[in-house]
Symmetry: C2
Subunit: 379 residues, 2 copies
């Protein structure tokens, strides 16, 4: 698959369309409007070597629609007439489905490629696409294609290179199995795509990768980590609260991004200032004075405070130096303490994140979710 | 300009790179990692007809970096060695700048095209790009080209089509001035790009647009709205707190994303459960019983509670139905109440957002920031 984004410049559009026509399927959106700078159909016809002609049946339908629009806007239909003829002009051999607006969806089967032109407005595009899928050229194309089988492994706490090594040790990709290894948010996402016939090899590869990385494997589906953590808690009938300093709400935002999170997640305290840590989370002043706000002790007090104050079964806290300022020799930018407290025990974690403010914050939020996962699954 | 998005499939990547090499400048990002599926360099060399070889100087630098990472992660360096050689492999004649991570930025001048390969991680890409611009091939290219002058207008509370109409009324784009009008996060971002010689026309167009949309214009620079709000508060020596229900920490996350936000932002309460609204924000039980958690009254009590409990000068609250569930006839999905309270007065806002959960939450967070902006600038 290739996605190309081009502007209205005819030469660029033509190059992109010619390249697209070399594939089995070309889908274009936009450039079907009534004005001179809407050039998709004209250039598609040029690229496909087809003459252009007005489709009178289509013209009649667009005219009917445009007369209603003209009436509503109290403008003479003559203002629209040119645009109607333009929008009803199609490459020879093309069929159209539609209309939602005044632009049709156009399907052109060149023999070697099925080209589909859809209107740009999302509502029109979304409504016309299912109808395009039902046209004969698209039906034929779909019968010829097979979606590859997909398997996923989600790992945490391992490096991309180590996973690559275990893939190589397991025989590597090839023979109908494509594997992508992608570091995302401090997690490693492994996707295996098997062509028809290679499902057995993909399953064996997946099993080998899962075994080699057993310690790090936390999911075999595509739920987000926040969703997975909420599901684990829900299954155990446990509620959750957060206490965040350097992540400033990101842990809670990831959790509440999941629909239905409210039956597990009660709320959180974002304690950026020390006074808020003391007043809202009950962190003892002595802890802050002796160990500082970025410390194992402060993180523990924050999690325990959130758990007690918000009446949650489980609470997780994050405190650290997100930078770019505020780092010291003893507590450099990237140093983050996390703590999870639950009915069955507590877990603490200290991390030194490389990276900038954004990276440190996002990664700390991910590690916080994984700390809750470990607390819940290991205790 | 053409933007092409391709996956890791070698054949597709090669087609895209070959097409890019026909232009004056080709910029690629991603695919420079240590694993086998990172194929940008290998395919760039193939497309440009250049042999590949390990650059020993680069290998030494990547090794040094990787040894530090290995130490930090407490893993053997042997895990990384293969990746280091791979990442130090360059097409003949290419130069490299970097490193931020273990992937260098690579510049290859083919004579007819300058090809630049940048690492995918945004932080690495952003840090390396200015250094790429200072290489000899990019300097030569930039001397041949002219950057258009850029002017920006940021509007809030107006529709995209109304801004498009005011643009048309002001004479529209053309004559060397390109204008983009983009709806983003409930704001309208207008960018004017003037070719050399058209600066006067761009300035006149900008002035006309600013006048026609004066009520909605809130910025003429590219600071984020969170940054702008923090700057306004800082200039007035005011502190800020948040009380969030449906946004679940997104307002605080946007604020704390800005470096140095801690001198203005004290913290926030994420009150997802009603018990948390009552206990942590002091929302009267009667308000929740009579008006519900999604109400003007609850929003007011939340903001006032956050202001008092966290000892902030200004507080802003958000409560609403983010969906997909939880909507009723009276309180449908998308209904959000916001409230800002400060030393000089209060402001309330009710909004009915269209869209899905993610859109509703993000837009509500943006409106919360604008409510603080209005409270601070209007009182």
């Amino acid at each position: 698959m290739r996605i190309t984004v081009v502007g209205d410049e005819p030469a660029e559009l033509e190059v992109a369309l010619r390249a697209g026509l070399e594939e089995d399927l070309l889908v274009v959106s936009g450039g079907l409007g009534p004005t001179h700078d809407d050039r998709t159909i004209e250039l598609l016809a040029l690229a496909a070597g087809r003459p252009l002609a007005v489709d009178e049946e289509l013209a009649a339908e667009i005219e009917e629609l445009s007369r209603r629009v003209a009436e509503r806007l109290r403008r003479p239909y003559a203002d629209f007439a040119g645009g109607v003829r333009k929008q009803a002009t199609l490459p020879a051999g093309a069929e159209w489905v539609g209309l939602v607006g005044t632009a049709p969806a156009v399907v052109l089967d060149t023999g070697s490629c099925v080209a589909v032109a859809l209107p740009g407005p999302p509502r029109e595009l979304q409504e016309l696409w299912p109808r395009v899928l039902e046209t004969a050229p698209l039906r034929r194309l779909r019968e010829r294609s097979h979606a590859p089988e997909r398997r996923v492994l989600r790992l945490f706490g391992v490096s991309e290179s180590a996973v690559a090594q275990s893939l190589a040790a397991a025989g590597g990709e090839g023979d109908g199995v494509a594997v992508t290894i992608c570091a995302r948010d401090f997690e490693i996402h492994v996707d295996l795509l098997a062509e028809p016939g290679a499902e057995g090899r993909a399953a064996a590869l997946e099993a080998a990768l899962a075994q080699a990385n057993e310690r790090y494997l936390f999911s075999r589906d595509e739920r987000s980590t926040a969703e997975l953590v909420l599901d684990l808690l829900r299954a155990r009938d446990l509620t959750l609260a957060t206490a965040e300093s350097c992540t400033g709400g990101l842990v809670a935002a990831r959790l509440t991004d999941v629909p239905g999170s409210s039956d597990v997640f009660l709320g959180g305290i974002i304690a950026y200032a020390d006074e808020v840590k003391i007043a809202q989370l009950g962190v003892p002043e002595g802890v802050l004075a002796e160990h500082g706000a970025v410390s194992e002790e402060a993180a523990a007090a924050m999690a325990q405070g959130a758990r007690a104050r918000l009446g949650a079964d489980v609470a997780v806290s994050v405190t650290g130096v997100a930078g770019p300022g505020g780092g010291t020799g003893e507590k450099p930018v990237g140093l983050v303490f996390l703590h999870a407290a639950g009915p069955g025990g507590e877990l603490a974690r200290r991390v030194d994140f490389p990276g900038d403010r954004e990276t440190i914050r996002q990664r700390a939020a991910v590690v916080a979710l994984h700390l809750v996962r470990r607390l819940v699954t290991e205790s």
